[in-house]
Amino acid sequence: MPSQWNNPGPGGPWGSGARPDSEIDKVFRQGQDKFKQFLPSGGPRGMIVLAMLAFAGVGVWTAYFTVPSDSVAVVQRFGKYLREVPPGLHFKLPLGIDVATIVPVKRQLKQEFGFATPGAGDAYQTSRDPRRETQMVTGDLNAALVEWVVQYRISDPVKFLFDVREPRGTLRDVSESVMREVVGDRTVDEVITIGRQEIENEALVKMQALSTKYAMGISIDQVQLKNINPPEAVQASFNEVNQAQQEKEKLINEARRDYNKVIPLAEGEKDQRIREADGYRLKRINEAEGDVARFSALLAQYSKAPEVTLRRIYIETLQDVMPSLRSKIIVDERTRGILPFLNLDSQKADRP
């Protein structure tokens, strides 16, 4: 690799100071000259020097590595775990003796189930077949389409790298299995409506337990449920049921309104009638009692003095009766030849 040669690198041939510092062109030409000297006529010595220099170049090239700020690197020496290094520039033994693997431990990773955000860089973020994993059976043997997201981080890079071959693939399997288990224990109404929070919590706990069991070195931060729908074939009917239910509610409310309009009115009328009847009853009773009292008083007088009382009753009765007659002409029986004079005109006027 001649480019390595001409580069005034730390392990390069010119580091010894055999060149003027300022004139890069001259250095370049000099380098070419020397290079030409080495190659055709330098013989085995030149070849060996060349090989050694190439070797050193590769050595330097592979002796350092940088770790990005969101990651740590795990260094293995001859395959054996050596150490974990924080972000920054680091050195290692070159030529494949030390191998550094960079693991993004601080990055928040996620996996999507049942849907796919396009353009994801992580192959494990979405499934090849999102429709498959979204179909589930609920505990009352209904079907539901469930979409969810798992947020996780790599908590233990050593376990993550060395204990499980496909930790992210395993997390996908675990997550799917747990979600089916949790949904399988609930009714479809719970899954679609009120049980969402509980499902998220329970799934999180179970997924964390399983990933700890598998020693995947992954910690799960959140499980979030996205859309939960009835299957497409059912969706139309589902909406119809909902509409029918709303219709039912509407009809009930309307009927209730009509009821409220009519019934209180009738109640009021009823009350009024009852009160009227009550009043009439009281009046009758009082009247009757008054009559009774008067009669009793009369009876008491009568029993004391029948003659007088009888006469008095007679007179009183006549007093009552007489005014209703317009006129009464009383004629002595012994009188004869008297032409009774009748004022016909006045009678005619009174009684038409």
Binding site: G139, V164, R165, D173, G184, D185, T187, E190, G195
Partner: protein, 198 residues
């Protein structure tokens, strides 16, 4: 003269390097190794990682994975005891615990995977056929559906009911696992844990 000597030195150096290279090998953290001498396994399997030595030429290194390995079944429809068809997607995780047996009987992972296909496939079918659909769907036996505390209307309280079960999914999974583990013992392997049912 000088040239010949140099060539000689180079040749010796090359041979020495070759010998050295063929007598050392590395075992990664994720691997274990079985040393075979003319095809016959010698010594204990190497389970620790690092730089190792062997006799050059006559000994070969066979590397075997030490991690938890995946097995993923293809989703397939299976009849249950109540003659309903359910699509079952099973996954399992397994690990090679006896590398020597594994090496002798199965040799490589492809054949191991195909044995797992056989064992787990048939055990899953057995277990599914022995249980009713609901036993495979549900897990906890006496779970009561959630009710919305705000809704007291009797008609709307009806959130559906959970069908009663005897065993549940966890137990079915464990049955598959136990049966499969027994059969797999023949191959001296050990599936770590089964299951995903759908």
């Amino acid at each position: 003269m000088n040239r010949i000597r140099l060539a000689g030195i180079l040749a010796v150096l090359a041979i020495a390097t070759y010998l050295l290279m063929s007598s050392i090998y590395t075992v990664s953290e994720v691997q274990q190794a079985i040393i075979t001498q003319f095809g016959r396994p010698v010594g204990d399997p190497v389970t620790s990682a690092g730089l190792k030595f062997k006799v050059p030429f006559i000994q070969d290194v066979n590397l075997i994975d030490k991690r938890v390995l995946e097995w993923d079944g293809n989703p397939s429809d299976m009849p249950t005891k109540d003659k309903l068809y359910v699509s079952v997607d099973l996954f399992a995780r397994w690990r090679i615990v006896e590398p020597l047996q594994y090496f002798l009987r199965l040799h490589d992972e492809r054949s191991a995977q195909s044995r797992l296909d056989d064992v787990l496939g048939s055990e899953t079918r057995n277990a599914v056929a022995k249980h009713e659909l609901i036993e495979i769907i549900r897990t906890t036996r006496d779970r009561v559906p959630l009710r919305d505390a705000l809704v007291t209307d009797a008609a709307r309280l009806d959130v559906g009911s959970l069908v009663p079960i005897q065993k549940g999914r966890k137990q079915v999974e464990q049955e598959i696992f136990a049966e499969a583990a027994q059969k797999v013992r023949v191959f001296a392997r050990y599936p770590v844990q089964a299951d995903q049912l759908q």
